[in-house]
Symmetry: none
Subunit: 205 residues, 4 copies
DNA sequence: GGATAATCGAGACGGTACGTCGCGTCTTCAT
DNA sequence: ATGAAGACGCGACGTACCGTCTCGATTATCC
C-alpha cells in the first residue's frame, strides 16, 4: 500500500475524504449493460441484471444514472463511437455528406440500430440524458449535415431557396423510417439513393 | 334442420363450440385502454389497470391479446380511423398525395402520434398484431402513396426512372423522424414542404 | 321401450321432463377424479382437470356435486369399498374387532389413507357430503366397534363399567394419529398391539 | 475494532453482508396471519391478505417462507406457547402426565385446535417447517410422555413389558381423532378418562 | 309428430390468489 | 463517506382454477 500512497502524493490530486473507488465500478456497469443489450435487447437490460453482472450494488448504479433508460443510453453512447467529428473532409460538401450518410447506414444497419430507435421512442420525458442521447446519435450529425448543406449552397451545388430543415429531415428521415418500420433493409446503397433522389427531385427536370 | 346446415355452409361461417366471446367485454377493454393511453401515455396502460377500469378479469384480456403491447396497439387501431381508404380522389395523383400527407400530419401531430411511434419502436418481435399495426397506420398509406406515384409517372407528372421505394421513404420518413426526435413540429405545412422539396429536388434545375 | 314404461309405472317414480342425467358422465367424472387423486394427490384434483380428463363440461360436474371437495370425497368413497358390512363374524366379538382393525390398517396404510385424512381435515364446513364421508370411512366402523364392545361386555370378555366412547377413541384414534403425524408406520401388527394394550391396560394387573 | 472481532468470534454469530432482515416486518406478517387465521380459518390466510394487512410486500413474505402453509404454521407456532417444557413436575410421573394431557385438551379444544389439525393434514410434502410444526405441537409432548412413561415403569407404576410407542399413540391419538372427526367434544375430562382407561385396561382385572 | 324442456359438450366470463420479477430506496458492515 | 450486499415496500406480470353463464346439439317426455 505504500506504492499507492506514493502515487497519490505524486499525482497530487485532492481526494474528497474517504472514497477510494468509482471509475472502475462505472466502467464495469457500462460494460455489463452493453453485453446485456447485445444479448437480450433493450428490455433485457435490467438494473438488477447489470448490477449482478458488474459485481456492483444497485445503489452504486443509481448514484450515477437516474434510471435504467439512462444506463442503456449511456451504454449505447459509450459503445458506439460517433462518426469521427469532422467526418472525412472530402473535396466537396456533398461528397462529405455522402460519406457521412454511408457511415450512418453502416451503424444503424446493426442490431444496435433498433436499440437506438427503441430508446429514442421510449424516452417518455425530456431529460438531460435523453436529450444528450438524441444529440449524440442523430442531431449532431444532422447539424453536420446542415453545415454541409450550407457549404453546398455557398458552392452553388444546391439551390439557395430551399428550406434546410425540411431538406435535412428528408435526407435523414428515411433512415429512421426504415429502422422503425422494418419494411426494407438499411444499407449504404439506400442512403446514397436517398441523397440522389433528394438532389435531383422526382419531377422531370 | 337441413336449412340450418345449408345456411352455414353457404355463409361459410363456422360457429365454435362454446360460449361465444363477449363483444361487450372486448369493447370495454379497448375503451379502457384508450382512456388510459390518453391519460397516462403508453407505459401507463397496464393490464391490471385496463382490467379494473373495464370491469373485466385479467384472464379475459390475456385470452384475446398476448401482452400489453398488443392491447395498446388494438386500442389505437380501433380509435384512430385510417384516412378513409381512397382518400379524396383529387384531379391529379399528386394532389391526392398532398391531401393524404396533410391528413397524416394532422393525425400524428396529436399525442396519439407519439404513442404510435412508441409502439412501433417497442414491438420487439415480429408478431401478427405488430405487423397489422404497422400496416394499419403506416404501410397501408405508403402503398396508397406508391399507387399515386405510379399514376403520376403514367401522367408524366414525375420521372419514370425513379426508385419508387426510395421516393416513398423520402416522403413519409420525415414525418416519423420528427415524431421520434421531436426536434421540430409536425404540421400540415411541413408535410407539404417535404413533398415540394422531394418533387423539385435540391439541385438547381 | 314398453318394458321401460311399465317399470316406471310399477316403481311409481316420476320422470322430470327433459333429457335425463347421464350416468355415463357421472361414472367418467368419478373415474377421472380417482385417477388424478392417485397421480397428484388431493390438491391435484381440480374441477378443470377432472372435466378435461372425463371429456365432460364443468357444469355437468357442478350439477352433481357442490364443489371440488365433494367430488374428491365421492371418488374416494366409490373407490374404497368399506370393510364389508358385518365384517367376518368371528366366534367372539373381540376376534371380530381384531379382524376389522386389521382391515382398516390395510386400507389406511396406502396412499389413499393420507388422502382420506386430508379430506377429513380440510372439510371446513359441515355439509351433507362431508358427514357422509366421515361416516363412510370412520364412524360407521366405530359404530361396528361399539356393537362389538357391547357384545364383549355381554359375554363378560370386557368390563361393564367402561366408557365405551372413550374406549372406541382409544382403539381407533391411534390409527389416525399415525396417519396425521407420520411418526411411525401403520400396519396390521400395530393395530393388533393397540387392541392388546387397550384390553390389558398399562398397569400391573 | 479488535474487540468487535473478538466478540463476534466468541458469540459465534455470523453477520451476513447486506441489510439485515426486518424483525418488524416478520412480526407484522405473523401477527396478520394470526388475525386472519382467527377470523377466517386456515383457508382464509392468503399471502395477499397477509401482505396487505401487515403493510408488507408479497415478495418479503416469500423471502422467508416458501408458501402459505409455512406462514400459517409459523404463525400458529408463534402464537401458541407449548405447555412449558418441564410441565409442572408433580409427585409422580403419572400425575405429571395427567397434567400435561389436561393442558393439551385445553389448547386443542379451541378453534386453534382445528387449525392445527388442518395444517397437519394439509402438509403434502415433508418440509423443514412441517416437521418443526408437528414436533412443536405434538411430537415434543409425545416425547415428554415417553419420558414420563419410562419413569412410571421405573417406579413400578406401570408394567415394564408394554410397547411404549403403542401406549403413547393410545394416549395422544384419541385427542386428534376427535379433532379430526368431530364426533365428540374435547375437554379435560375426556383426556383424563382416556388415561384412566389406558391404565386399567378394558378387561376384567 | 311436433313442441317443450332439461342435460350435454364446450368454452368464455368476472374473479381471487398465486408465485415471480424488477423497480428504486434504505440499512448494514467493511474498507 | 463509499461501496457491495441485500432486504424493503411496491406494482405489475402472466397463470391456474374457481364457480357461473351462454351457446348449439342432443335426448327424452308430453300433448
Amino acid at each position: 500500500m505504500k506504492a499507492n500512497v506514493k502515487a497519490r502524493e505524486a499525482g497530487g490530486e485532492k481526494r474528497p475524504r474517504g472514497r477510494p473507488r468509482s471509475e472502475r465500478a462505472k466502467a464495469a456497469i457500462l460494460s455489463a449493460a452493453r453485453e446485456l443489450l447485445a444479448e437480450l435487447g433493450p428490455s433485457g437490460v435490467t438494473i438488477e441484471g447489470v448490477a449482478a453482472r458488474a459485481g456492483v450494488g444497485k445503489p452504486t448504479i443509481y448514484r450515477w444514472w437516474p434510471d435504467r433508460y439512462a444506463v442503456v443510453m449511456a451504454a449505447l453512447m459509450e459503445s458506439e463511437s460517433p462518426p469521427q467529428a469532422p467526418a472525412h473532409r472530402a473535396r466537396s460538401a456533398l461528397k462529405s455528406l455522402r460519406v457521412q450518410l454511408r457511415r450512418m447506414a453502416a451503424v444503424f444497419a446493426t442490431g444496435t440500430g433498433r436499440a437506438i430507435a427503441a430508446m429514442l421512442a421510449a424516452a417518455e420525458q425530456e431529460t438531460e440524458i435523453s436529450r444528450a442521447f438524441r444529440n449524440h446519435f442523430v442531431l449532431a450529425r444532422r447539424e453536420e449535415g446542415r453545415a454541409l448543406l450550407r457549404e453546398a449552397i455557398a458552392a452553388r451545388e444546391i439551390r439557395a431557396d430551399i428550406d434546410v430543415d425540411v431538406a435535412l429531415d428528408m435526407i435523414y428521415g428515411p433512415l429512421f423510417f426504415r429502422l422503425l418500420l422494418g419494411h426494407a433493409p438499411i444499407d449504404e446503397r439506400f442512403m446514397e439513393r436517398v441523397l440522389d433522389h433528394a438532389l435531383h427531385g422526382l419531377r422531370y427536370g
